[in-house]
């Protein structure tokens, strides 16, 4: 399993992600720049957070036309795992590899805080080794993280069990207080129809070293992925 950590001009979580995968979790992962069209040598692509192309026009709107997105789409089409974190999620949504859009937070403020996340779907390659209803703690850091989609799409996501994570209280219960950005259905992460493409706004790569504080729930998240890819 060789993972491409995709870096765009303006990505800023790429090194954290590579560190988490390569040094903390001992995965075979390497940085791949946005100009690389062909990702046939990789078994998965992880799109890191940041402000690709300055977030100009809309977050992710320009990055989706980067040559590397051809390779990402090809991996996604062939059923290989593709994960977008924060800006990576925004890019996957703009690229239509995931439905819906990420809009300005309800508060119109940049949010940088720890949140609790309830695992909603545990039947996919990413969270398959976690338990449905399990609560994780991870930080968010975004301006445009409010998940929005039309009613039919939200219904479909719920019916097909494609809500990956939801913002919750520590005990897993849901309330307006625990939905930091006003996302529809408190959605923090979703899956594609084939369940091999996932996007989430929170940052698992930022909670992979106990030394840095904030716990190690990111390790749980990525370990689940590693286990999930083993046959």
């Amino acid at each position: 399993m060789k993972i491409a950590v995709v870096r765009f001009p303006g990505s800023n979580c790429d090194h954290d992600l590579l560190h988490a995968l390569k040094f903390r979790l001992k995965m075979d992962a390497e940085m791949v720049w946005w100009g690389k069209k062909n990702l046939d040598d990789y078994d998965a692509a992880f799109l890191a957070g940041g402000f690709s192309f300055g977030d100009y026009l809309r977050a992710g709107a320009i990055a989706r036309f980067a040559p590397v997105m051809e390779g990402v789409a090809k991996l996604a089409d062939s059923g290989k795992p593709v994960l977008g974190i924060c800006n990576g999620f925004q890019i996957l949504a703009e690229a239509r590899l995931l439905p819906g859009a990420l809009m300005h937070n309800k508060s119109m403020k940049f949010l940088c805080q720890d949140v609790f996340l309830k695992v909603e779907a545990a039947n996919n390659v990413f969270t398959g080794k976690l338990h449905k209803g399990e609560v994780l703690s991870m930080p968010i850091a975004h301006m445009e993280g409010r998940y929005v989609a039309d009613e039919a799409t939200i219904k479909q996501l719920e019916a097909q069990d494609r809500v990956l994570l939801r913002y919750s209280q520590k005990d897993g219960s849901l309330s307006d207080d625990s939905n930091p950005n006003g996302s529809m259905g408190a959605i923090a992460g979703i899956l594609s129809e084939k369940r091999n493409v996932a996007g989430l706004m929170p940052h698992p790569e930022r909670v992979c070293e106990a030394l840095l504080g904030g716990g190690e729930d990111g390790v749980k998240f990525f370990t689940s992925f590693i286990e999930g890819t083993k046959r």
Partner: protein, 73 residues
């Protein structure tokens, strides 16, 4: 922005406009204007071209509607 999509920026501006006591402001929606200079003299061709740009890049069909005005020199 499509109807029904929460526009927190518009809501904040509505609040400020209501504070100006002359304004009977029911609702405010904020969008953006993009000005494009085209090297194209044919209006229909220009319309087709800009429409393509809107669909592909300039507007996000999930959240935004768009309207095109073509003005000559």
């Amino acid at each position: 922005m499509k109807p029904g999509i929460l526009d927190p920026q518009g809501d904040a501006v509505r609040g400020a406009l209501r504070a100006l006591d002359t304004a009977k402001v029911a609702n405010v929606r904020i969008g953006k204007i993009i000005e494009i200079d085209l090297e194209e003299n044919d209006k229909n061709a220009a319309m087709t071209s800009v429409k393509g740009m809107c669909e592909k890049l300039l507007a996000n069909p999930v959240t935004e509607d768009y309207h095109i005005d073509i003005t000559g020199k």
